[in-house]
């Protein structure tokens, strides 16, 4: 009982006594350094390699510096649709050949489209490295873009849209968060697109997209695992080095999202959402910004684990929410800090909103205490260790640093920047970015709460109001 009391006391002090400095229990854990080699080919392709012989596998990742923000106007969902077509036939491979070369030999492959990049990756037994380098070079240089492939993948993407955004009760909210958080920047168009624009796309659109972005000087190759460096370099020259660089310029997004000048509020409805949800977003600086480190630490303190600020307040103490999330969604051009709460039953969205904002204000008013800061750093290190347990995870870490941060060495140095974040840094970024004017609020309600006589159009267009702060939107919400 004595021990428990003193733990409680310590905990209380940690929250209330901001200036208290507690002795470090242990030395800071180091993140093991990743050793990699890098070079740039004459056609502009950049190549990174990380040797690791602990398991007889190799991860191969091809990063194309094009993402959903590059979707042509009126063709939202394009980059992602194109990613699907990359798995169809090429000059030298029939459709799904890549699966023959990966899954069939005990490996796997996949790809993802994000806002700023599209990444194709596979993990195979290490004796298949040359085979896969050849296959990647083939689909970069000689993809068949034909009508049959285009149409069948378009159907699959439409099913994906239904499965991930229409069928799930809160899928629509994910789309709304993007659509309402940005006014000018193409990040406002979710990467999955929508059925109308997918249906409107043509084979010529696909060919133009390919010609614009799928070129060696827009590619970073990252390989991690069990290989011989000299042999690897020779294969890269042979298969990837021979691909010519096109002469034409590459279109790049150059849209500045204006600063938010006033809070904006939206209400929308989910057809199968049983309970309300609240999402609040703030614009934040680009991924490569110096403020990103303190923002990551803040994200951890706010939302990582059951001892996080938001969980403790909204889920545990007040039982306003059944789940909460804080996500510093760092992106190349600008970032979006998102807070989401899934309401508990019989609780009002206004109350959850108030509680979320109260936690942000606490972090603005009072610097976080040393134990909380150390906890966040330990959580971040542990999550990086977990991510780097596999070859694919190692490649992802190097790729992200090289392509999105423009500096591969940050795969090792960033953690030191995180460890150097102080309570004052956290307080500073909280004040700077989490202001009333930088806020977008979305209340996402069960369909049953849509009132009669509302001027909400069908198809789920969200109502907007320019709220001068907190409180209910016009028409009233909740019970």
């Amino acid at each position: 009982m004595m021990f428990r009391k003193s733990i409680a006391l310590l905990f209380f002090c940690a929250l209330a006594c901001a200036a208290m400095i507690l002795p470090e229990a242990k030395a800071q854990t180091k993140l093991p350094k990743m050793n990699y080699k890098e070079r740039t080919l004459s056609n502009g392709m950049r190549v990174y390699s990380i040797e690791d012989h602990s398991s007889p596998t190799v991860a191969i990742q091809v990063w194309y510096h094009v993402g959903s923000k590059d979707d042509p106007e009126g063709r939202s969902g394009f980059a992602h649709l194109f990613e699907h077509i990359m798995f169809k036939s090429t000059k030298n491979m029939k459709s799904e050949m890549l699966d023959r070369l990966t899954e069939d030999v005990g490996g796997y492959n996949n790809a993802f489209t994000a806002d700023d990049v599209t990444v194709y990756f596979e993990v195979v037994p290490s004796n298949y490295l040359e085979t896969l380098l050849w296959a990647e070079s083939d689909r970069l240089a000689a993809l068949n873009i034909d009508d049959a492939n285009f149409k069948s993948e378009r159907d699959v993407v439409k099913e994906e849209f239904r499965q991930n955004y229409v069928a799930p009760p809160y899928g629509k909210l994910d789309l709304l968060v993007e659509q309402k958080s940005f006014t000018k920047h193409p990040y406002r168009r979710p990467g999955i697109g929508n059925i109308e624009e997918l249906d409107a796309s043509t084979i010529e659109d696909v060919r133009a997209f390919h010609a614009n972005y799928y070129r060696p000087d827009n590619v970073t190759l990252v390989v991690a695992g069990d290989f011989d460096q000299k042999q690897f370099d020779a294969w890269v020259d042979k298969y990837l080095g021979r691909i010519p660089k096109p002469d034409k310029p590459m279109p790049r997004v150059n849209v500045k999202e204006p600063e938010r000048t006033a809070e904006r509020r939206f209400v929308d409805y989910g057809e199968h959402a049983p309970l309300p949800a609240v999402a609040i977003t703030y614009l934040a600086p680009p991924q490569a910004s110096d403020d990103a480190f303190a923002l990551r630490v803040a994200e951890s303190i706010l939302g990582q684990g059951d001892s996080s600020r938001l969980y403790r307040s909204l889920v545990y103490d007040q039982q306003l929410a059944q789940g909460v999330e804080a996500d510093v969604d760092l992106r190349e051009d600008l970032s979006l800090f998102k807070l989401t709460a899934m309401l508990a039953s019989d609780r009002k969205p206004e109350d959850a909103e108030r509680a979320l904002l109260a936690e942000l204000k606490r972090m603005q008013d009072t610097p976080v205490a040393a134990p909380e800061l150390e906890k966040a750093k330990n959580q971040i290190i542990t999550s990086r260790l977990l991510a780097r347990e596999t070859n694919n995870g190692k490649a992802l870490a190097v790729g992200e640093a090289a392509v999105l941060l423009g500096d591969a060495s940050r795969v090792n140095s960033d953690i030191e920047r995180i460890q150097a974040v102080t309570a004052a840094d956290v307080q500073r970024i909280m004040k700077k970015y989490f202001s009333d004017t930088n806020r977008v609020v979305i209340h996402f309600l069960p369909e049953s709460e849509r009132h009669k006589g509302d001027n909400v159009t069908h198809g789920g267009m969200a109502r907007e109001s320019n709220g001068a702060g907190q409180g209910t939107t016009e028409g009233g919400t909740g019970k």
Binding site: T29, G106, Y128, A344, L386
Partner: protein, 503 residues
């Protein structure tokens, strides 16, 4: 870059793999393309795969301790398994085992729920506890420099939870809210319904987390009784795996769990109920749950499968791999790749202490509900009517072996695999014989197995979606369709319908 913001080409559930197998590649290319055609370079000689060897010891109190060394990651996972899970839920108290396990981390004699979270998260670690079928688990993943304090917290939550009324009430509300959300997802709801259809009122029939009604009935006494009955050292297994020396791991286990007292009463035996053979349904059911606003139809084929200890286990694994064990398996080929009807279709043999379910599942637009149901059943049937060609069997086995090996690449994957072998009383060495066991399965094994153990006669169909859009087509093939409106669905009963008497 936020992992949540990525849109994957295929659902992550498909991905897993590694191992060297030689393949013949057939290329089927038009004449116009044949000139200047390049062949992919052939692979070089494969490197052999070796997995760590688990070692074990039992403590004086009967706790079985298993350690698996795998250096290099700076991480360790530790897991306590109690040898019972949802199957011991009393008939009216579905969800009891899961609630009990979840409540472990919500307060002990030494620490409140917030203090437990604070303590483990201060170390950068995460502590999870939940029940599954056949087992209740508590596990922690942590930097190896912080292992001992993390293990002390793990032991605390397993041995001395207090089950405060306030925490029970909190969890009850949370669980009911989560269930409401789960029930509004066609895929999740279809799986709940499938369990009832296959198992009826037998121990595996109810939803593991309970139902809205059963959760309401659970009392503190029920939870305390379950914990004191099953959570004892001679009914538990501790697995520690990752970047740690075995000697150090055993020493920590002794220091932290050595004084966990063994009760004088005999240890509980695994539930007899689960061991009994399932009586075959007189006729398989075709059940449609009408969810008018469903954005998609979830289509599930379900029937009884195997026990984990079944001598034909590896035949089952390979047969499942051929049917629906990956992106290139038959179900995904037919449903997604050839016809564009889905984002992904797959199957799973869920082996348990008793006979577990076999499921094939996918989601599709409502209009395609009926055609997809037919495809699932037809593909299952084809496994026994047509022999599998070696050109298909070899890669399917490679995919299975790759999956397995990749699961072992992380500390928590390694611990989970070893924990499962220990739970079912299997040789821990099986990790190192798995690949050979899979390799040994032949096409004839697959065909015979499918015919004898997975035939379509025992297959039930469950569809959750907007019935209006597919039920007429469905009836053309399956005359015995039952349609249950969403509001009348009752997961507490094998009939699946709310009794009219209750209103």
């Amino acid at each position: 870059m936020n992992p949540l913001r990525r849109i994957f080409k295929q659902s992550a559930a498909f991905t897993l793999a590694l191992v060297a197998v030689s393949i013949t590649m057939t290329t089927d290319i038009s004449l116009a393309q044949q000139e200047q055609q390049e062949q992919p370079p052939a692979p070089s000689a494969p490197r052999s795969v070796q997995f760590p060897k688990p070692v074990e010891k039992s403590l004086k109190n009967g706790l079985r301790v298993v350690v698996v060394e795998r250096p290099g990651s700076s991480l360790v996972s530790a897991q306590v398994s109690i040898k019972q899970g949802g199957e011991v839920d009393p008939p009216q108290l579905a969800g009891l085992a899961d609630m009990t396990a979840t409540l472990l981390t919500r307060g002990t004699e030494k620490r409140t729920a917030p203090e437990i979270a604070e303590a483990i998260e201060a170390l950068g670690g995460s502590l999870e506890s939940a029940a599954r079928w056949d087992v209740s688990l508590a596990n922690v993943t942590i930097m190896n420099s912080r292992l001992e304090p993390a293990m002390e917290i793990l032991a605390d939550v397993v041995r001395r939870p207090t089950f405060k009324q306030e925490e029970i009430d909190r969890l009850r509300q949370q669980t009911q809210d989560e269930l409401s959300v789960a029930m509004s997802q066609p895929g999740t709801l279809a799986r709940f319904v499938a369990s009832r259809v296959v198992f009826g009122d037998a121990p595996y029939g109810h939803p593991l987390a309970g139902t809205l009604e059963s959760i309401e009935r659970i009392k503190r006494d029920d939870i305390v009784r379950l914990h004191s009955t099953y959570y004892r050292p001679d009914n538990a297994i501790l697995v520690i795996g990752g970047d740690i020396k075995a000697e150090d791991a055993f020493n920590i286990a002794e220091r932290i769990f050595g004084d966990w007292a063994k009760p004088s009463t005999p240890a509980p035996a695994p539930s007899a109920e689960t061991a009994r053979e399932l009586t075959a349904a007189s006729k398989p059911r075709v059940v449609v749950v009408d969810m008018e606003h469903a954005g998609q139809a979830a289509v599930v084929l379900a029937r009884s499968g195997l026990k984990r200890t079944d001598p034909e286990y590896f035949r089952g694994l390979v047969t499942n791999s051929v049917l629906g064990g990956g992106y290139s398996a038959r179900l995904n080929q037919e449903i997604r790749i050839k016809r564009g009807l889905s984002y992904g279709a797959s199957s799973a043999l869920d082996v348990r202490r008793g006979i577990g379910p076999f499921l094939a599942a996918t989601q599709t637009k409502n209009e395609s509900g009926a055609i997809v149901a037919s495809l699932l059943i037809d593909e299952l049937g084809r496994l026994s009517s047509d022999a599998v060609a070696d050109t298909e069997l070899t890669p399917r086995k490679a995919a299975l072996m790759g999956n397995f090996a990749r699961n072992l690449e992380t500390s928590d994957g390694l611990v989970a695999q070893v924990g499962s072998l220990a739970l079912y009383g299997l040789s821990l060495d099986e990790i190192n014989s798995y690949l050979n066991n899979v390799q040994a399965i032949t096409a004839s094994d697959v065909q015979k197995f499918a015919g004898a153990r997975l035939d379509t006669k025992g297959a039930n169909i469950i569809i959750v979606g907007n019935a209006r859009m597919f039920v007429d087509d469905l009836r053309k093939r399956f005359p015995n369709v039952e349609v249950i409106p969403e509001k009348e669905l009752d997961l507490n009963s094998a009939t699946l319908r709310k009794s009219k008497v209750q209103g």
